[in-house]
Symmetry: C2
Subunit: 206 residues, 2 copies
DNA sequence: CCTACCGATCGGTAGG
DNA sequence: CCTACCGATCGGTAGG
């Protein structure tokens, strides 16, 4: 892709790539502009030809590396004649998409810890319409599901699998083999079992 | 409690308290030893009479403020004749315990982002035996539950409610009212519905 | 895009 | 053993 870039654009890209590597390895305050410059192959002052501040570099890294395009694409690609196959397809592809970008979790944690989530509202407002759209898919299977608001169902789905992803990424190496084995499949199974109405008496209190 | 402390112990406590406040507000690298000293009411050099380094201060803060004692106490206090009342009791008290210590999430994120989870194995190995013990409670309700390994069930439980806690803490202010309302109760309900065997044909693939 | 410099501040240390 | 300073210095920082 770099063949089509002007020299200026190429330098900008190298700054973002270098900064990304350093941020996920050392955090934001733990990384200096001099390190970024050196790693990008330019002088310190050269960064300020492309970015107005260190924070500006971080925002560019956030935008360049967040994988929600791919996660949402995974939702679009997902298919299934039944709610079961749909949920399994989405979950599998979401986890696969997140696993392809283990650095993103790190980036978001930096955003939370060192920026107090300052830039999150922007990211979330981009995401929310698609999030609501996802809820509509649940609504289309309404007759097979228990009476739970779609947005709650969507949040529970995202939360459950995001928590799977986070616990897998963070403490996966310490989790006993018994626990890791088929854990995602069990997570999917528990979620489905939790939302699908199997025709017996509705026991939800809500 | 401070009435029983020697002057040296009191100073040490004030350093830890000051450092805690600053770390959760600014991160580790975003906080200077001078800020900690000023906030603790002593000179910079005085910190080094109690701690050998800035990292040493952070470890002391981590140990002093992690609330797993209280979370595990919440589990001990939880009771219920049925799996439903037990899960509801534990979930409610865990969320309440975590909500009483919103700073702990921040501390753990600093540990992850800025220390690459270096100190986590120690914390987790303290926790794991109690974690397994919790799984045994599920085992005691075995005849009412689907055939899912206890540790998977425990991880799903912890993951689901930890994800509720995290999403609530991080983006709670941006979640539509419809979504927040009774969300915890719905989470509990979904989990219970997902693990309890209601006597019909077992549909789990596992 | 580089050189070179600024005011300031970083964690940590010295001896008194 | 502790508190509270001193002058000096470390590698590294934002920003012009």
């Amino acid at each position: 892709m770099s063949a089509e870039l002007t020299r200026g654009e190429n330098t900008q890209l190298e700054i973002v790539q270098a900064a990304h590597q350093l941020f996920i390895g050392q955090g934001y305050h733990g990384t200096s502009m001099r390190q970024i410059a050196r790693s990008a192959g330019i002088a310190l002052g050269g960064i300020y030809n492309h970015f107005s501040s260190k924070e500006d570099v971080f925002v560019a890294v956030l935008k360049a590396y967040h994988p929600y395009h791919e996660i949402l694409a995974a939702i679009d690609v997902a298919h299934g004649d039944t709610i079961e196959s749909f949920v399994e397809s989405v979950a599998t592809q979401m986890v696969a998409a997140l696993r392809k970008h283990p650095e993103f979790l790190n980036l978001m944690l930096i955003e939370i810890v060192e920026f107090k989530s300052q830039h999150v509202p922007t990211l979330f407002s981009d995401l929310f319409p698609r999030f609501a759209e996802f809820g509509n898919v649940f609504a289309s299977y309404q007759d097979r599901l228990r009476h739970i608001p779609e947005l709650i169902m969507t949040r529970a789905f995202v939360g459950l699998f995001f928590s799977f992803y986070i616990t897998d990424a963070l403490i996966g190496s310490q989790i006993p083999a018994q626990m890791k084995e088929k854990a995602l499949e069990h997570f999917i199974d528990i979620f489905l079992y939790g939302i699908v109405n199997r025709g017996q008496v509705e026991t939800s209190k809500f």
